[in-house]
Protein backbone atom coordinates (compact mmCIF):
# COMPACT_ATOMS: atom_id res chain seq x y z
CA UNK A 1 0.00 0.00 0.00
CA UNK A 2 2.81 2.36 0.87
CA UNK A 3 4.49 1.54 -2.42
CA UNK A 4 1.33 2.52 -4.24
CA UNK A 5 0.84 5.61 -2.17
CA UNK A 6 4.00 7.10 -3.56
CA UNK A 7 2.86 6.69 -7.18
CA UNK A 8 -0.92 7.26 -7.18
CA UNK A 9 -3.06 9.87 -5.55
CA UNK A 10 -5.45 8.70 -2.80
CA UNK A 11 -9.12 9.17 -3.73
CA UNK A 12 -10.84 7.48 -0.78
CA UNK A 13 -9.53 7.35 2.77
CA UNK A 14 -11.42 5.43 5.44
CA UNK A 15 -10.16 6.29 8.90
CA UNK A 16 -11.27 3.90 11.63
CA UNK A 17 -14.90 3.90 10.46
CA UNK A 18 -17.57 2.46 12.73
CA UNK A 19 -21.20 1.78 11.93
CA UNK A 20 -23.61 0.67 14.61
CA UNK A 21 -27.26 -0.16 14.04
CA UNK A 22 -29.76 0.23 16.83
CA UNK A 23 -32.76 -2.00 16.39
CA UNK A 24 -35.73 -2.48 18.65
CA UNK A 25 -36.62 -6.15 18.84
CA UNK A 26 -38.39 -8.11 21.49
CA UNK A 27 -37.97 -11.79 22.23
CA UNK A 28 -35.49 -13.85 24.14
CA UNK A 29 -32.09 -15.08 23.19
CA UNK A 30 -32.09 -18.69 22.17
CA UNK A 31 -30.03 -19.52 25.19
CA UNK A 32 -29.25 -17.24 28.10
CA UNK A 33 -25.58 -16.36 28.23
CA UNK A 34 -24.90 -17.39 24.70
CA UNK A 35 -24.58 -14.19 22.80
CA UNK A 36 -23.07 -13.06 19.56
CA UNK A 37 -20.26 -10.62 20.18
CA UNK A 38 -21.62 -8.18 17.60
CA UNK A 39 -25.17 -7.98 18.93
CA UNK A 40 -25.51 -6.35 22.34
CA UNK A 41 -28.80 -6.42 24.25
CA UNK A 42 -30.18 -3.69 26.49
CA UNK A 43 -33.82 -4.42 27.17
CA UNK A 44 -35.51 -4.47 23.81
CA UNK A 45 -32.71 -2.54 22.21
CA UNK A 46 -30.23 -4.51 20.15
CA UNK A 47 -27.04 -2.81 19.17
CA UNK A 48 -25.37 -4.35 16.16
CA UNK A 49 -21.79 -3.37 15.44
CA UNK A 50 -21.79 -3.73 11.68
CA UNK A 51 -18.39 -2.09 11.15
CA UNK A 52 -15.99 -2.11 14.07
CA UNK A 53 -13.31 0.31 12.98
CA UNK A 54 -12.06 -0.21 9.44
CA UNK A 55 -9.29 1.82 7.82
CA UNK A 56 -8.15 1.73 4.23
CA UNK A 57 -6.90 3.85 1.38
CA UNK A 58 -8.02 3.62 -2.23
CA UNK A 59 -5.95 5.19 -4.95
CA UNK A 60 -6.66 6.62 -8.34
CA UNK A 61 -7.34 3.88 -10.88
CA UNK A 62 -7.94 1.19 -8.27
CA UNK A 63 -10.64 -1.40 -8.78
CA UNK A 64 -11.05 -2.87 -5.34
CA UNK A 65 -12.87 -6.13 -4.77
CA UNK A 66 -14.72 -6.47 -1.46
CA UNK A 67 -15.27 -9.99 -0.20
CA UNK A 68 -16.59 -11.59 2.95
CA UNK A 69 -19.37 -13.85 4.14
CA UNK A 70 -22.99 -12.67 4.40
CA UNK A 71 -23.38 -10.16 7.21
CA UNK A 72 -19.68 -9.39 7.41
CA UNK A 73 -20.38 -5.68 6.91
CA UNK A 74 -19.58 -5.31 3.21
CA UNK A 75 -22.72 -3.39 2.30
CA UNK A 76 -22.62 -1.30 5.48
CA UNK A 77 -19.06 -0.22 4.70
CA UNK A 78 -19.91 0.59 1.09
CA UNK A 79 -22.95 2.61 2.10
CA UNK A 80 -20.86 4.46 4.65
CA UNK A 81 -18.23 5.25 2.00
CA UNK A 82 -20.92 6.61 -0.27
CA UNK A 83 -22.27 8.75 2.57
CA UNK A 84 -25.69 7.08 2.54
CA UNK A 85 -25.23 5.61 6.02
CA UNK A 86 -23.97 7.96 8.73
CA UNK A 87 -20.91 6.85 10.72
CA UNK A 88 -20.88 6.27 14.46
CA UNK A 89 -17.15 6.80 14.71
CA UNK A 90 -14.17 7.56 12.57
CA UNK A 91 -14.14 9.48 9.33
CA UNK A 92 -14.32 8.83 5.62
CA UNK A 93 -12.80 11.17 3.07
CA UNK A 94 -13.11 11.21 -0.69
CA UNK A 95 -12.29 13.47 -3.61
CA UNK A 96 -15.97 13.65 -4.52
CA UNK A 97 -19.11 11.98 -3.34
CA UNK A 98 -19.01 8.29 -4.32
CA UNK A 99 -21.99 6.84 -6.17
CA UNK A 100 -23.54 3.71 -4.77
CA UNK A 101 -25.13 1.10 -6.94
CA UNK A 102 -26.63 -1.76 -5.04
CA UNK A 103 -29.18 -4.52 -4.92
CA UNK A 104 -32.54 -3.58 -3.50
CA UNK A 105 -32.04 0.05 -4.33
CA UNK A 106 -35.05 -0.16 -6.59
CA UNK A 107 -36.41 2.85 -8.31
CA UNK A 108 -40.09 3.55 -8.91
CA UNK A 109 -41.61 0.15 -9.60
CA UNK A 110 -44.84 1.47 -11.05
CA UNK A 111 -43.09 3.36 -13.80
CA UNK A 112 -41.69 2.11 -17.06
CA UNK A 113 -38.01 1.44 -17.47
CA UNK A 114 -37.73 4.45 -19.72
CA UNK A 115 -39.21 6.82 -17.14
CA UNK A 116 -36.89 5.38 -14.50
CA UNK A 117 -33.92 6.10 -16.74
CA UNK A 118 -35.05 9.71 -17.10
CA UNK A 119 -35.68 10.09 -13.38
CA UNK A 120 -32.39 8.47 -12.38
CA UNK A 121 -30.51 10.61 -14.86
CA UNK A 122 -32.10 13.80 -13.57
CA UNK A 123 -31.29 12.82 -9.98
CA UNK A 124 -27.66 12.32 -10.99
CA UNK A 125 -27.64 15.89 -12.24
CA UNK A 126 -28.19 15.51 -15.98
CA UNK A 127 -30.32 18.14 -17.65
CA UNK A 128 -33.48 17.10 -19.48
CA UNK A 129 -31.77 17.54 -22.84
CA UNK A 130 -28.73 15.51 -21.80
CA UNK A 131 -30.78 12.59 -20.56
CA UNK A 132 -32.92 12.60 -23.72
CA UNK A 133 -29.72 12.39 -25.70
CA UNK A 134 -28.37 9.51 -23.63
CA UNK A 135 -31.64 7.59 -23.42
CA UNK A 136 -31.14 5.38 -26.49
CA UNK A 137 -27.57 4.65 -25.52
CA UNK A 138 -28.62 3.56 -22.01
CA UNK A 139 -31.44 1.36 -23.34
CA UNK A 140 -29.02 -0.14 -25.83
CA UNK A 141 -26.48 -0.90 -23.11
CA UNK A 142 -29.08 -2.49 -20.85
CA UNK A 143 -30.27 -4.73 -23.68
CA UNK A 144 -33.87 -4.26 -22.51
CA UNK A 145 -35.22 -2.56 -25.62
CA UNK A 146 -38.30 -4.80 -25.84
CA UNK A 147 -39.33 -4.24 -22.22
CA UNK A 148 -38.46 -0.60 -21.79
CA UNK A 149 -42.09 0.58 -21.90
CA UNK A 150 -43.29 -1.88 -19.27
CA UNK A 151 -43.52 -0.90 -15.60
CA UNK A 152 -40.46 -2.00 -13.64
CA UNK A 153 -42.56 -4.12 -11.30
CA UNK A 154 -42.88 -6.58 -14.17
CA UNK A 155 -39.10 -6.90 -14.51
CA UNK A 156 -37.16 -9.83 -13.16
CA UNK A 157 -34.53 -9.01 -10.56
CA UNK A 158 -31.83 -9.53 -13.15
CA UNK A 159 -33.46 -7.08 -15.54
CA UNK A 160 -33.86 -4.53 -12.75
CA UNK A 161 -30.18 -4.72 -11.86
CA UNK A 162 -29.18 -4.42 -15.49
CA UNK A 163 -31.24 -1.30 -15.95
CA UNK A 164 -29.88 0.25 -12.78
CA UNK A 165 -26.32 -0.45 -13.71
CA UNK A 166 -26.89 0.96 -17.18
CA UNK A 167 -28.26 4.18 -15.71
CA UNK A 168 -25.42 4.60 -13.25
CA UNK A 169 -22.76 3.70 -15.80
CA UNK A 170 -24.03 6.31 -18.24
CA UNK A 171 -22.25 8.97 -16.24
CA UNK A 172 -18.59 9.29 -15.45
CA UNK A 173 -18.26 8.73 -11.72
CA UNK A 174 -15.13 9.67 -9.91
CA UNK A 175 -15.83 6.93 -7.41
CA UNK A 176 -18.30 4.13 -8.11
CA UNK A 177 -19.41 1.48 -5.66
CA UNK A 178 -21.08 -1.61 -7.09
CA UNK A 179 -22.71 -3.87 -4.53
CA UNK A 180 -23.39 -7.32 -5.97
CA UNK A 181 -25.36 -5.60 -8.66
CA UNK A 182 -23.89 -7.69 -11.41
CA UNK A 183 -24.36 -11.06 -9.79
CA UNK A 184 -27.78 -11.43 -11.38
CA UNK A 185 -26.97 -10.33 -14.90
CA UNK A 186 -26.41 -12.93 -17.61
CA UNK A 187 -22.92 -13.60 -18.88
CA UNK A 188 -23.24 -11.44 -21.96
CA UNK A 189 -24.32 -8.44 -19.94
CA UNK A 190 -21.67 -9.18 -17.34
CA UNK A 191 -18.94 -8.99 -19.98
CA UNK A 192 -20.29 -5.70 -21.22
CA UNK A 193 -20.50 -4.22 -17.73
CA UNK A 194 -17.06 -5.47 -16.73
CA UNK A 195 -15.63 -3.69 -19.74
CA UNK A 196 -17.52 -0.53 -18.81
CA UNK A 197 -16.33 -0.79 -15.23
CA UNK A 198 -12.71 -0.99 -16.32
CA UNK A 199 -13.29 2.02 -18.53
CA UNK A 200 -14.81 3.98 -15.65
CA UNK A 201 -11.89 3.04 -13.41
CA UNK A 202 -9.39 4.09 -16.03
CA UNK A 203 -10.94 7.57 -16.33
CA UNK A 204 -9.30 8.77 -13.15
CA UNK A 205 -11.83 7.13 -10.87
CA UNK A 206 -11.85 4.29 -8.45
CA UNK A 207 -14.31 1.42 -8.27
CA UNK A 208 -15.33 -0.77 -5.34
CA UNK A 209 -16.89 -4.04 -6.36
CA UNK A 210 -18.68 -6.16 -3.79
CA UNK A 211 -19.13 -9.69 -5.04
CA UNK A 212 -19.37 -13.26 -3.91
CA UNK A 213 -17.92 -14.35 -7.19
CA UNK A 214 -14.16 -14.63 -6.69
CA UNK A 215 -13.79 -15.11 -10.41
CA UNK A 216 -15.36 -11.79 -11.27
CA UNK A 217 -13.19 -10.10 -8.62
CA UNK A 218 -10.06 -11.69 -10.05
CA UNK A 219 -11.13 -10.69 -13.58
CA UNK A 220 -11.91 -7.08 -12.74
CA UNK A 221 -10.01 -5.94 -9.68
CA UNK A 222 -6.39 -5.11 -9.02
CA UNK A 223 -6.83 -5.05 -5.24
CA UNK A 224 -9.17 -6.65 -2.76
CA UNK A 225 -10.21 -6.36 0.87
CA UNK A 226 -11.68 -9.10 3.03
CA UNK A 227 -14.17 -8.13 5.70
CA UNK A 228 -14.93 -10.50 8.53
CA UNK A 229 -17.43 -9.67 11.30
CA UNK A 230 -17.05 -5.96 10.74
CA UNK A 231 -13.25 -6.05 10.80
CA UNK A 232 -10.76 -5.78 7.97
CA UNK A 233 -9.29 -9.26 7.88
CA UNK A 234 -6.94 -8.83 4.96
CA UNK A 235 -6.07 -6.51 2.15
CA UNK A 236 -3.68 -6.73 -0.77
CA UNK A 237 -3.66 -7.73 -4.40
CA UNK A 238 -6.85 -9.33 -5.63
CA UNK A 239 -5.13 -12.70 -6.02
CA UNK A 240 -3.59 -12.76 -2.52
CA UNK A 241 -6.81 -11.86 -0.78
CA UNK A 242 -9.05 -14.12 -2.85
CA UNK A 243 -6.63 -16.99 -2.31
CA UNK A 244 -6.60 -16.48 1.46
CA UNK A 245 -10.38 -16.20 1.53
CA UNK A 246 -10.86 -19.26 -0.66
CA UNK A 247 -8.55 -21.30 1.57
CA UNK A 248 -10.42 -20.27 4.69
CA UNK A 249 -14.01 -20.82 3.54
CA UNK A 250 -13.20 -23.64 1.13
CA UNK A 251 -14.36 -21.78 -1.96
CA UNK A 252 -13.08 -22.16 -5.49
CA UNK A 253 -11.23 -19.35 -7.22
CA UNK A 254 -13.14 -20.09 -10.42
CA UNK A 255 -16.44 -19.47 -8.71
Amino acid sequence: MVEQASTAKPVVIVDNAKVTYRVYASGKAVQEGESNSRVKRTGNLRTVEAIKGVSLIAHEGDVIGVIGTNGSGKTSLMKAISGLTPLDGGKIFATSRPSFLGVGAAMLKELSGEKNIILGGLAMGFSRAEIKEKLDQIIEFSGLKDFIELPMRTYSSGMTERLKFSIAASREHDILIIDEALAVGDSKFRKRSEARMKELAKNAGCVFLVSHSLKSILDTCNRAIWLDEGVLRAEGTAYEVCKAYADEVGADLDD
Binding site: P10, D15, I57, P86, K91, L101, L108, E110, A123, A234
Partner: protein, 296 residues
Amino acid sequence: MESHCPRQELGERLSKLSDLAAESGLERVGKRPKLSRYLRDVWIRRAFALTLSQYRLLATSARSRLGVAWLIIVPALQITLYGLIFGLVLGDSRPGNFLPYLVVGVVLFQFLAGSFSDGARSISSNSALAKSLSFPRVLLPMSAMVSQWMKFSGLMLLALIALPILGEMPRWSWLMIVPVIGLASLFALGIGMMAARLTVHFNDLSSLIPFITRIAFYASGVFFSMDRLTDAISWLGFLVWANPVSVYLSLARDVMITGHPVDAWMWWVGAGWGVFTLVFGFFFFWSAEERYGRAG
Protein backbone atom coordinates in the same frame (compact mmCIF):
# COMPACT_ATOMS: atom_id res chain seq x y z
CA MET B 1 -8.05 -0.83 22.00
CA GLU B 2 -9.78 1.51 19.64
CA SER B 3 -8.54 0.16 16.34
CA HIS B 4 -9.49 -3.33 15.30
CA CYS B 5 -6.97 -3.45 12.51
CA PRO B 6 -5.47 -6.87 12.10
CA ARG B 7 -1.89 -5.83 11.95
CA GLN B 8 -0.44 -3.49 14.52
CA GLU B 9 1.96 -1.73 12.18
CA LEU B 10 -0.88 -1.15 9.73
CA GLY B 11 -2.87 0.52 12.48
CA GLU B 12 0.04 2.83 13.25
CA ARG B 13 0.57 3.69 9.63
CA LEU B 14 -3.10 4.51 9.27
CA SER B 15 -3.31 6.65 12.39
CA LYS B 16 -2.26 9.66 10.33
CA LEU B 17 -5.03 9.06 7.81
CA SER B 18 -6.98 12.19 8.54
CA ASP B 19 -3.84 14.25 7.99
CA LEU B 20 -3.19 12.48 4.71
CA ALA B 21 -6.76 13.19 3.63
CA ALA B 22 -6.36 16.88 4.35
CA GLU B 23 -3.03 16.89 2.53
CA SER B 24 -4.49 15.28 -0.59
CA GLY B 25 -7.44 17.65 -0.57
CA LEU B 26 -10.11 15.04 0.14
CA GLU B 27 -13.39 16.04 1.72
CA ARG B 28 -15.33 14.21 4.38
CA VAL B 29 -18.03 12.08 2.76
CA GLY B 30 -21.63 12.82 3.66
CA LYS B 31 -20.72 16.22 5.04
CA ARG B 32 -23.54 18.64 4.54
CA PRO B 33 -22.50 21.02 1.78
CA LYS B 34 -22.42 24.76 2.33
CA LEU B 35 -25.76 26.48 1.95
CA SER B 36 -24.84 28.19 -1.30
CA ARG B 37 -23.68 24.92 -2.86
CA TYR B 38 -26.71 23.07 -1.54
CA LEU B 39 -29.07 25.59 -3.08
CA ARG B 40 -27.14 25.42 -6.34
CA ASP B 41 -27.42 21.63 -6.36
CA VAL B 42 -31.16 21.97 -5.78
CA TRP B 43 -31.42 24.40 -8.65
CA ILE B 44 -29.46 22.14 -11.02
CA ARG B 45 -31.78 19.25 -10.21
CA ARG B 46 -35.05 21.18 -10.29
CA ALA B 47 -36.18 19.12 -13.28
CA PHE B 48 -35.84 16.05 -11.08
CA ALA B 49 -38.33 17.37 -8.51
CA LEU B 50 -40.80 18.28 -11.25
CA THR B 51 -40.46 14.96 -13.07
CA LEU B 52 -40.66 12.92 -9.88
CA SER B 53 -43.98 14.48 -8.86
CA GLN B 54 -45.36 14.19 -12.37
CA TYR B 55 -44.40 10.51 -12.61
CA ARG B 56 -45.66 9.72 -9.13
CA LEU B 57 -49.05 11.18 -9.96
CA LEU B 58 -49.07 9.20 -13.19
CA ALA B 59 -48.11 6.03 -11.38
CA THR B 60 -50.82 6.32 -8.74
CA SER B 61 -53.52 7.14 -11.27
CA ALA B 62 -52.46 4.47 -13.76
CA ARG B 63 -53.75 1.74 -11.47
CA SER B 64 -57.36 2.90 -11.27
CA ARG B 65 -59.79 3.24 -14.11
CA LEU B 66 -60.90 6.79 -13.45
CA GLY B 67 -57.28 7.82 -12.87
CA VAL B 68 -56.72 11.49 -12.16
CA ALA B 69 -60.49 12.08 -12.13
CA TRP B 70 -60.44 10.80 -8.54
CA LEU B 71 -58.56 13.92 -7.56
CA ILE B 72 -61.77 15.85 -8.29
CA ILE B 73 -64.36 13.22 -7.42
CA VAL B 74 -63.23 12.72 -3.83
CA PRO B 75 -63.34 16.39 -2.77
CA ALA B 76 -66.66 16.79 -4.64
CA LEU B 77 -68.11 13.95 -2.59
CA GLN B 78 -66.60 15.43 0.57
CA ILE B 79 -68.17 18.81 -0.06
CA THR B 80 -71.55 17.19 -0.72
CA LEU B 81 -71.29 15.14 2.46
CA TYR B 82 -70.10 18.02 4.65
CA GLY B 83 -72.75 20.24 3.08
CA LEU B 84 -75.47 17.79 4.03
CA ILE B 85 -74.21 16.92 7.52
CA PHE B 86 -72.97 20.29 8.73
CA GLY B 87 -75.78 22.05 6.91
CA LEU B 88 -78.30 20.05 8.92
CA VAL B 89 -76.39 19.93 12.21
CA LEU B 90 -75.42 23.57 12.33
CA GLY B 91 -78.90 24.77 11.37
CA ASP B 92 -79.15 28.51 11.91
CA SER B 93 -75.59 28.80 13.19
CA ARG B 94 -74.30 28.08 9.68
CA PRO B 95 -72.07 30.82 8.34
CA GLY B 96 -73.79 32.98 5.74
CA ASN B 97 -73.49 31.93 2.11
CA PHE B 98 -72.83 28.45 3.51
CA LEU B 99 -72.20 26.27 0.46
CA PRO B 100 -69.70 28.58 -1.30
CA TYR B 101 -68.10 29.10 2.14
CA LEU B 102 -67.72 25.34 2.48
CA VAL B 103 -66.43 24.83 -1.08
CA VAL B 104 -63.60 27.33 -0.67
CA GLY B 105 -62.84 26.00 2.80
CA VAL B 106 -62.63 22.35 1.77
CA VAL B 107 -60.63 23.05 -1.41
CA LEU B 108 -57.99 25.08 0.37
CA PHE B 109 -57.88 22.84 3.41
CA GLN B 110 -57.32 19.81 1.19
CA PHE B 111 -54.37 21.59 -0.34
CA LEU B 112 -52.77 22.42 3.01
CA ALA B 113 -53.50 19.06 4.64
CA GLY B 114 -52.19 17.24 1.58
CA SER B 115 -48.96 19.23 1.68
CA PHE B 116 -48.52 18.29 5.32
CA SER B 117 -49.14 14.56 4.95
CA ASP B 118 -47.31 14.17 1.62
CA GLY B 119 -44.41 16.19 2.99
CA ALA B 120 -44.25 13.90 6.01
CA ARG B 121 -44.13 10.86 3.74
CA SER B 122 -41.78 12.37 1.20
CA ILE B 123 -38.58 10.86 2.62
CA SER B 124 -39.90 7.46 3.65
CA SER B 125 -41.91 6.85 0.47
CA ASN B 126 -38.86 7.64 -1.63
CA SER B 127 -36.39 5.80 0.58
CA ALA B 128 -35.37 3.50 -2.27
CA LEU B 129 -34.45 6.51 -4.32
CA ALA B 130 -32.75 8.22 -1.38
CA LYS B 131 -30.72 5.15 -0.54
CA SER B 132 -29.41 4.60 -4.03
CA LEU B 133 -28.77 8.10 -5.29
CA SER B 134 -27.30 11.11 -3.60
CA PHE B 135 -29.05 14.38 -4.31
CA PRO B 136 -30.12 17.23 -2.03
CA ARG B 137 -32.85 15.59 0.05
CA VAL B 138 -34.91 18.75 0.21
CA LEU B 139 -35.91 17.97 -3.38
CA LEU B 140 -38.20 15.26 -2.00
CA PRO B 141 -40.49 17.52 0.08
CA MET B 142 -40.26 20.04 -2.76
CA SER B 143 -41.45 17.45 -5.21
CA ALA B 144 -44.32 16.61 -2.82
CA MET B 145 -45.24 20.29 -2.99
CA VAL B 146 -45.30 20.19 -6.79
CA SER B 147 -47.66 17.18 -6.65
CA GLN B 148 -49.92 19.21 -4.39
CA TRP B 149 -50.03 22.01 -6.93
CA MET B 150 -51.01 19.52 -9.61
CA LYS B 151 -53.74 18.12 -7.40
CA PHE B 152 -54.79 21.63 -6.47
CA SER B 153 -55.37 22.55 -10.11
CA GLY B 154 -58.03 19.83 -10.11
CA LEU B 155 -59.55 21.16 -6.90
CA MET B 156 -59.57 24.68 -8.27
CA LEU B 157 -61.37 23.50 -11.38
CA LEU B 158 -63.98 21.96 -9.10
CA ALA B 159 -64.39 25.25 -7.23
CA LEU B 160 -64.65 27.23 -10.47
CA ILE B 161 -67.47 24.96 -11.62
CA ALA B 162 -69.25 24.72 -8.25
CA LEU B 163 -69.21 28.41 -7.26
CA PRO B 164 -71.28 29.75 -10.21
CA ILE B 165 -73.75 26.90 -9.70
CA LEU B 166 -74.06 27.95 -6.06
CA GLY B 167 -74.72 31.54 -7.07
CA GLU B 168 -71.25 33.09 -6.91
CA MET B 169 -70.66 34.69 -10.29
CA PRO B 170 -67.09 34.94 -11.60
CA ARG B 171 -65.49 38.30 -11.00
CA TRP B 172 -62.09 39.95 -11.22
CA SER B 173 -61.28 39.50 -7.56
CA TRP B 174 -61.05 35.77 -8.20
CA LEU B 175 -57.67 36.42 -9.76
CA MET B 176 -56.45 37.39 -6.31
CA ILE B 177 -56.64 33.68 -5.38
CA VAL B 178 -53.24 33.36 -7.08
CA PRO B 179 -51.36 35.41 -4.43
CA VAL B 180 -53.38 33.67 -1.70
CA ILE B 181 -52.21 30.29 -3.02
CA GLY B 182 -48.71 31.69 -3.35
CA LEU B 183 -48.60 32.63 0.34
CA ALA B 184 -50.32 29.40 1.37
CA SER B 185 -47.71 27.46 -0.63
CA LEU B 186 -44.84 29.06 1.27
CA PHE B 187 -46.49 27.90 4.47
CA ALA B 188 -47.34 24.47 3.02
CA LEU B 189 -43.79 23.81 1.81
CA GLY B 190 -42.47 24.90 5.21
CA ILE B 191 -44.64 22.49 7.19
CA GLY B 192 -43.97 19.79 4.60
CA MET B 193 -40.21 20.07 5.21
CA MET B 194 -40.67 20.10 8.98
CA ALA B 195 -42.94 17.07 8.87
CA ALA B 196 -40.46 15.28 6.60
CA ARG B 197 -37.65 15.64 9.11
CA LEU B 198 -39.80 14.84 12.12
CA THR B 199 -41.09 11.59 10.62
CA VAL B 200 -37.50 10.53 9.98
CA HIS B 201 -36.67 11.08 13.66
CA PHE B 202 -39.91 9.67 15.04
CA ASN B 203 -41.52 7.27 12.65
CA ASP B 204 -44.50 7.02 15.04
CA LEU B 205 -45.47 10.53 14.01
CA SER B 206 -46.89 9.19 10.76
CA SER B 207 -49.70 7.58 12.78
CA LEU B 208 -50.48 10.93 14.37
CA ILE B 209 -50.75 12.85 11.13
CA PRO B 210 -54.44 12.10 10.38
CA PHE B 211 -55.24 13.16 13.94
CA ILE B 212 -53.31 16.43 13.66
CA THR B 213 -55.03 17.10 10.35
CA ARG B 214 -58.42 16.51 11.99
CA ILE B 215 -57.63 18.97 14.79
CA ALA B 216 -56.59 21.56 12.22
CA PHE B 217 -59.83 20.86 10.34
CA TYR B 218 -61.94 21.68 13.39
CA ALA B 219 -59.80 24.57 14.59
CA SER B 220 -59.60 26.41 11.30
CA GLY B 221 -63.21 27.13 10.46
CA VAL B 222 -63.51 24.95 7.38
CA PHE B 223 -67.26 24.56 7.85
CA PHE B 224 -68.07 27.10 10.52
CA SER B 225 -67.20 30.71 11.05
CA MET B 226 -64.22 31.45 13.29
CA ASP B 227 -66.23 34.37 14.67
CA ARG B 228 -68.72 31.98 16.22
CA LEU B 229 -65.94 30.06 17.92
CA THR B 230 -64.27 33.18 19.27
CA ASP B 231 -67.60 34.72 20.31
CA ALA B 232 -68.42 31.62 22.32
CA ILE B 233 -64.98 31.23 23.89
CA SER B 234 -63.45 34.67 23.87
CA TRP B 235 -59.92 33.67 24.87
CA LEU B 236 -59.69 31.69 21.63
CA GLY B 237 -59.75 34.99 19.76
CA PHE B 238 -56.04 34.74 19.02
CA LEU B 239 -56.77 31.76 16.75
CA VAL B 240 -58.04 34.11 14.06
CA TRP B 241 -54.52 35.29 13.32
CA ALA B 242 -52.40 32.72 15.16
CA ASN B 243 -53.76 29.81 13.15
CA PRO B 244 -52.20 30.16 9.69
CA VAL B 245 -54.61 27.66 8.15
CA SER B 246 -57.55 29.80 9.16
CA VAL B 247 -55.73 32.91 7.90
CA TYR B 248 -55.35 31.44 4.41
CA LEU B 249 -58.94 30.19 4.42
CA SER B 250 -60.22 33.67 5.33
CA LEU B 251 -58.11 35.31 2.64
CA ALA B 252 -59.36 32.85 0.03
CA ARG B 253 -62.97 33.48 1.02
CA ASP B 254 -62.38 37.20 0.96
CA VAL B 255 -61.43 37.07 -2.71
CA MET B 256 -63.67 34.21 -3.86
CA ILE B 257 -67.11 34.67 -2.23
CA THR B 258 -69.39 37.41 -0.98
CA GLY B 259 -70.20 38.13 2.62
CA HIS B 260 -66.90 37.22 4.26
CA PRO B 261 -64.49 40.13 3.88
CA VAL B 262 -61.31 40.30 5.97
CA ASP B 263 -59.23 43.26 7.12
CA ALA B 264 -56.29 44.18 4.91
CA TRP B 265 -53.79 43.40 7.71
CA MET B 266 -54.65 39.72 7.35
CA TRP B 267 -52.62 39.75 4.13
CA TRP B 268 -49.57 40.72 6.15
CA VAL B 269 -50.31 37.97 8.65
CA GLY B 270 -50.55 35.47 5.79
CA ALA B 271 -47.29 36.68 4.26
CA GLY B 272 -45.55 36.63 7.64
CA TRP B 273 -46.63 33.08 8.40
CA GLY B 274 -45.64 31.95 4.92
CA VAL B 275 -42.13 33.41 4.93
CA PHE B 276 -41.45 32.42 8.53
CA THR B 277 -42.60 28.81 8.07
CA LEU B 278 -40.69 28.40 4.82
CA VAL B 279 -37.40 29.75 6.17
CA PHE B 280 -37.67 27.92 9.47
CA GLY B 281 -38.81 24.71 7.75
CA PHE B 282 -35.94 24.80 5.30
CA PHE B 283 -33.25 25.28 7.94
CA PHE B 284 -34.88 22.70 10.17
CA PHE B 285 -34.80 20.18 7.31
CA TRP B 286 -31.38 21.14 6.02
CA SER B 287 -29.63 20.90 9.38
CA ALA B 288 -30.36 17.14 9.48
CA GLU B 289 -29.38 16.52 5.84
CA GLU B 290 -26.72 13.94 6.77
CA ARG B 291 -29.24 11.71 8.51
CA TYR B 292 -31.78 11.06 5.78
CA GLY B 293 -29.88 8.20 4.12
CA ARG B 294 -30.80 5.92 6.97
CA ALA B 295 -34.52 6.62 6.69
CA GLY B 296 -37.03 3.98 5.79
